[in-house]
């Protein structure tokens, strides 16, 4: 049986990837952020997952307003880093897990989550930056990746409650997969930030801390928070945080917080990193 061994919540700011790719992580601006990463990397290296399900959003890269799937599952055997205008990030090709991905699709659709399917998908910083943050600069990624793209650009994104429920359904799906695989789930994006309008630059540390506390301890309460609260308090792009609720749902019942780091700013964003472990085996909650 496949099992979910942990969850990671992680900001996906493109400038963090650029700092890594251009060797600037020890500059005074970036060092306090990167100094927070080793414990998460050590946890992940010790956990040795076989597969990561990465819940992320595309930023007008492989997807556009032309077609807007609310949830899109990547079932390919490989995913290339995308060209976002500066050429593709020089990070390794990502290897998918088509068998698990197709199992997830079948299980989730029959569980009444109507996913769209991507047989081809270039992945942007939304997916690759969290991997760089938590793995570093490997020659090959140490695990396979199943991308799950969530629409958080065309309003409205799926509700927090829907994201949490999808996460719980992912847990059921993973646990019904016969092969012994260790799976981690990433929820990416956020935390508070706004990249547009006269209110650009909004950061709300208090909201971010409250989000972490409630998401961890009482995920149903966090899932009930309406979009307006994210828009108002965490900025127009802070609504990406609903993707962390997919990760939280996949961990089932009570969780143990392994590690947390938070720093302002990473570019224009409240940068959060959290590592959680499930405390209950089996399809609890």
């Amino acid at each position: 049986m496949a099992t979910i061994i942990g969850g990671i919540g992680c900001t996906h700011v493109p400038a963090i990837g650029a700092a890594i790719d251009n060797g600037r992580t020890q500059e005074p601006y970036w060092k306090p952020l990167f100094d927070g990463y080793p414990p998460a990397r050590e946890w992940l290296a010790a956990a040795r997952p076989d597969v990561a399900i990465v819940v992320y959003n595309d930023h007008a890269t492989a997807l556009s307003l032309r077609l807007v799937p609310t949830f899109l599952l990547g079932v390919a055997d490989r995913f290339s880093p995308a060209d976002e205008g500066y050429g593709p990030r020089r990070v390794p090709m990502l290897h998918g897990h088509p068998d698990l991905a197709w199992h997830l699709n079948e299980s989730l659709v029959l569980d009444e989550f109507d996913l769209a399917i991507a047989n081809e998908l270039d992945v942007d910083h939304g997916l690759t930056v969290p991997l760089s943050i938590t793995v570093g600069e490997p020659d090959e990624w140490p695990f396979r990746v199943v991308p799950l793209a969530v629409n958080v650009i065309q309003y409205p994104p799926p509700t927090g409650r829907r994201c949490l429920a999808l996460g719980r359904a992912i847990r059921r799906a993973v646990e019904s997969y016969p092969e012994d695989l260790k799976v981690v789930v990433y929820g990416t994006g956020g935390m508070s930030h706004q990249l547009q309008g006269e209110r650009a630059g909004l950061i709300n540390r208090q909201f971010d801390m409250a989000f972490l506390r409630t998401m961890i301890d009482d995920p149903d309460a966090q899932a009930a928070v309406p979009h307006i609260d994210y828009l108002r308090e965490a900025g127009s792009e802070g609504i990406e945080l609903v993707m962390w609720l997919v990760m939280r749902g996949a961990l089932g019942g009570p969780v143990r917080e392994v590690y947390r780091h938070y720093h302002v700013p990473a570019s224009n964003t409240g940068a959060g990193l959290i590592v959680l472990e499930p405390t209950t085996a089996g399809a609890a909650a």
């Binding site: 307003l65 205008g85 309003y155 630059g201 909004l202 570019s267 224009n268 409240g270």
Partner: protein
């Protein structure tokens, strides 16, 4: 392009200085966004570099959107339906930073915007609702 005719009140319209990418915004800005999407590709960037006006005409943006792009008026592009992730394609083409774009939108220089972020960012206090500002 006609303005969207159905325009119900939304709770988020009360948030100052914030342009939510709802259906009305996408109706206004779809052609502009899809034109800027072309800058993801080398051939699109070459065509835009060769003749910005002709490129925009070929993508059927409005006259106001065309002028906003030529002027690099980021706030105006946003107000005319542009979405920030598409505007960032143009910023990348120009090799200008997100902070440059956000600074212009919020009426400060790039350096002032960067300093605001280093100082912890823009507080939500006084920025949660238009009512709160008055």
């Amino acid at each position: 392009m006609a303005e969207p005719s159905v325009n119900p009140t939304h709770d988020y319209e009360d948030i100052p200085g914030t342009y939510v990418q709802d259906g009305a915004q996408t109706q206004r800005g779809y052609q502009l966004c899809m034109a800027l999407m072309e800058l993801n590709r080398a051939d699109g960037r070459a065509a835009f570099a060769a003749d910005e006006g002709a490129f925009l005409d070929a993508h059927h943006v409005t006259a106001a959107q065309r002028q906003a792009v030529l002027d690099r008026d980021w706030l105006r592009m946003l107000q005319l339906g542009g979405n920030v992730y598409y505007l960032l394609k143009l910023a990348a083409f120009d090799r200008v930073s997100v902070q440059h774009m956000c600074g212009q939108m919020s009426g400060v220089s790039e350096q002032e915007f960067v300093q605001m972020m280093v100082g912890g960012g823009r507080s939500a206090d006084g920025q949660r609702s238009k009512a709160e500002q008055h």
